[in-house]
């Protein structure tokens, strides 16, 4: 196991991880650039562009720290650079841990067992790295065509896209929230507290026209929900 981690944390692997990270950062920057250039043409003011960017930043802090906490379990198994590589791109901690387990089993050992050697680790690397490309390949190939389908729907009925988008969002998050809520009392409290505070904050912000509050809405709701649900665990 020590030998595995020595190789997993070696310089070449750090270099691979840096390239992956560089691609992620490069992509984010280029999309910020082209979206900002498009904004004025579709009637978005400079102020609105800045507000969208700021809201994205504020809203991502909670989720990012949530992701960071789960990372620790992966570093112990995969070492630093692979964790960086796998979590930095498509793949959640849960998916990657399961993938690691599947890879190890395919070689005939358990993760973290004394028999988990470099060949087993190599199997895990193949499984994680190539398994994750499934989404990447499909997205790279199909997104353009999905756009054409969307365009057809829009050209038929412009209002329809708004309805479909909203319904899709509601459907996805209703399912995800339900799935979390049945996990336990505190989870239910967290979901309801966040939902209610979001509605209260947004209503208040719109009535009084407080723009910064709209930007902070998700962030504040998360803090309120986390606080309340944490308190329920202390009772």
């Amino acid at each position: 196991m020590d030998e595995v981690l020595r190789f997993a944390n070696s310089t070449p692997v750090w270099i691979f991880a840096s390239i992956v990270v560089a691609i992620v950062i490069f992509q984010a920057l280029i999309f910020i650039r082209i979206a900002s250039q498009t904004a004025p043409n579709i009637g978005m003011t400079k102020d609105e562009t800045k507000r969208a960017l700021r809201t994205g930043f504020i809203s991502s802090l909670g989720p990012s720290f949530g992701i960071a906490v789960v990372i620790i379990s992966l570093i112990a198994v995969l070492g630093g650079p692979f964790t960086l590589m796998r979590i930095g791109i498509i793949g959640s901690a849960a998916t990657e841990l399961t993938a690691a387990g599947i890879g190890a089993n395919a070689y005939g050992v358990e993760l973290n067992s004394p028999d988990f050697g470099l060949k087993a680790f190599t199997t895990v690397v193949w499984t994680m790295c190539l398994g994750g490309t499934g989404w990447l390949i499909f997205t790279a190939l199909a997104t353009k065509s999905l756009g054409k389908v969307e365009k057809k729907i829009v050209s038929k009925n412009a209002k329809m896209m708004t309805i479909v988008s909203t319904a899709a969002m509601l459907g996805a998050f209703a399912y995800l929230a339900s799935q979390q809520m049945v996990k336990g009392y505190s989870e239910t409290v967290a979901a309801i507290a966040a939902g209610v505070s979001m509605m209260v904050i947004l209503t208040f912000a719109k009535k009084r026209e407080i723009r910064w509050l709209q930007e902070w809405a998700l962030g504040i709701s998360l803090v309120i929900a986390l606080t309340i649900s944490y308190l329920t665990t202390l009772i």
């Binding site: 089993n105 070689y107 199997t123 193949w126 997104t143 909203t166 509601l170 459907g171």
Partner: protein, 237 residues
Amino acid sequence: MSVPTKAGVTEAKIEVRQTTMSMQGFHGKSDFWGQTTLWMLIVMSFVPPIYFSFILGYHPGWGAIAGGLIGYAAFIGIMWFLEPITYYPVLGKSGTYIAFLTGNIANMCLPCSAAAQESIGAEPGTKKAEVAGTLGIAVASLTNIVIIIAVVLSGSFILTIIPQSVQNALQFILPAIYGGVLGQFALKKPLYGLVAFVIGMAVLFAPIFSLIKIVLCVAITIAVVLFIEKSKSGAPE
């Protein structure tokens, strides 16, 4: 809110060289850069396994590798196709490229996209929503990678300076995120929010293959909402 009209067609003919870009140009550039970055990452995904197998010489045999990949595909392979299709109507083209490269779609990309749209009052599915959502997701992707780098490089030191109670509270981040986004949309369409939630619970407890449940829930919600809209016909809101 910008209403898509016939003007969109003429926009296509405008040359894009200046500092501004038409929506058509935006989609073209999104396809180009989205595909380029994705293929770069796909190629990069082959490097570590090949390095371990053939440069370091720890090749475990193709049998084991195939076993691992088949196991992976059996476990979650269907999501390779279903997730991009399911989330496309919400993420839009550019959002899809970013979200599927950076990951953490439901717990980060979608909420940040929705929050960015809300902050400037853009209706989902409009051009403005797509651009605002792209900005939101791209910044989220950037923030996320910076925080992950900081945690990995500091050997989790950053997490040790966050009080234990805060870390304990963070275990409830997922229900909080999902509940918050649901609240945001339910505020706009309370009826649909309720409909979606009932469908969500019903699908959750239905005896169906669990991986396709979310897809099913999205599809049913879209169908029911469209049906309600149609029966209301004349006054769609």
